[in-house]
């Protein structure tokens, strides 16, 4: 079967590599100025054939190159996991100013958490006017939470009371969110030095 990305897979990979290189660059710059690497880790992937075809079907779109490259915006996916909350927003500011990239959509699920407790910053970038990439920015705690929540949704058989598990996961998200804020506050105080503490 022909690829849903047609002849463009190599170009998608090239755009992804460019974006990852930009992120590497800003990591280096920020470490230079603040002495601290803002990014814990960073991953990129091209959405698999099967996932993309499944997403087309789910959205009622034809399984075509146009759907995969223009109508659906996460053929390229990048996840940036940061140490601190402010780093998430610093990387976001940097990405929004990249050359040849425009931000076509942004959702701040950190400021406005999803009802289940999910927290992350989502951006859709359009590179060179035609390639779309979804960037997810989040803290280590938020990433840890999302990993377990993902497991809950994809595990067919859940042992135990599902309502209770969902409620407890939300509680954990709220405790982690609180800790993220505390850690950021502590870092701010350390950076402000003798003026405050």
């Amino acid at each position: 079967m022909e690829s849903i990305y047609g002849e463009h897979r190599a170009e998608l990979e090239e755009v992804m590599r460019r974006l990852l290189a930009y992120i590497e660059k800003v990591r280096g710059e920020m470490e230079e100025t603040s002495g601290m690497d803002p990014v814990e880790h960073c991953l990129g992937r091209i959405k698999s054939e099967e996932s993309m075809r499944e997403k087309c079907r789910r959205k009622g779109l034809p399984e075509s190159e146009e759907s995969a490259l223009s109508l659906i915006h996460d053929a390229i996916g990048i996840r940036v996991v940061c140490a601190f909350l402010d780093d998430v927003y610093a990387i976001r500011d940097y990405l929004s100013k990249l050359p040849h990239c425009e931000t076509v959509e942004e959702k701040d699920y950190i400021r406005h958490a999803k009802p289940n407790g999910y927290r992350s910053y989502h951006m859709i970038l359009r590179v060179d006017g035609k390639w779309y990439a979804e960037i997810q920015l989040r803290t280590i705690s938020q990433d840890t939470w999302a990993a377990l929540e993902h497991h809950l949704n994809y595990k067919k058989e859940i042992n135990g009371n599902k309502d209770l598990i969902v409620k407890e996961l939300k509680r954990c998200a709220e405790e982690l969110a609180s800790t993220d804020v505390s850690m950021q506050t502590i870092r701010d105080m350390m950076n402000q030095g003798h003026d405050t503490l």
Binding site: R111, H112, A177, S182
Partner: protein
């Protein structure tokens, strides 16, 4: 110890006042419910004695309104009605004790003493201020988003909610929240104030706690 006595029967009011003053209490006496509520809102008391049947506003309404305003002073109800339902209604509305009429003066005095020496505070498990709520059961701080506070953070924010828009000094907060931790100092308070400030922001609340390190802090509706 300062008490408020609200009793509309003039003779009884006078006798009880004299007896309490003789026992060493500082007593404000009033003869109707409206006056009682005005006094409660304006002054701090260590205990309140409320007759249920009073002109202008009955004792239960006074009690309900003061509890809605998070006023946690202990309350003893005096009730001519000896029905179980009335006594239950009084306790449910937030009274700490009740005494059916007629009563012996020495029993009233003993109950007032017991009530005012009680150290455990009347507390609600759900407090609200401006656009946020604070749940004592779960330690959840909630507005548009919610976060879970640590116990210390909860206690600190609770004392602000119970004293809304009032300037609370660093010393007062150390004494009330960190009394068991002699090593806590102005920096500890300052750090916890900053935790609360950022957590209020993170739940998208407009409320704030202005103040400088080592000084006084006040919970206000808009940061």
């Amino acid at each position: 110890m300062k008490l408020l006595l609200a009793e509309d029967t003039t003779d009884l009011n006078r006798v009880v006042t004299v007896m309490l003053e003789h026992a060493g209490f500082d007593v404000d006496s009033v003869v109707d419910g409206e006056e009682a509520l005005t006094h409660i809102l304006q002054n701090g008391y260590d205990g309140v004695i409320l007759d249920i049947m009073m002109p202008k506003m009955d004792g239960l309404s006074v009690l309900t309104q003061m509890r809605e305003k998070n006023i946690i002073v202990p309350v003893l109800l005096l009730t001519a009605k000896a029905e179980v339902d009335d006594r239950v209604a009084g306790l449910d509305a937030g009274a700490d004790d009740y005494l059916p009429k007629p009563f012996a003066m020495k029993e009233l005095l003993a109950r007032v003493k017991a009530m005012t020496r009680r150290r455990t505070k009347y507390s609600t498990d759900y407090l609200t201020f401006a656009d946020f709520s604070l749940n004592a059961d779960t330690l959840a701080l909630e507005s548009e988003n919610s976060v879970r506070l640590s116990l210390r953070e909860f206690e600190l924010l609770q004392i602000f909610v119970l004293n809304p828009e009032k300037e609370l000094s660093t010393e007062f907060l150390l004494e009330h929240i960190w009394s068991a931790e002699p090593e806590a100092d102005a920096d500890t308070v300052w750090l916890y104030i900053n935790y609360l400030r950022r957590k209020l922001t993170s739940i998208a609340s407009a409320a704030g706690i202005p103040g400088e390190r080592g000084g006084t802090y006040r919970l206000c509706r808009e940061a």
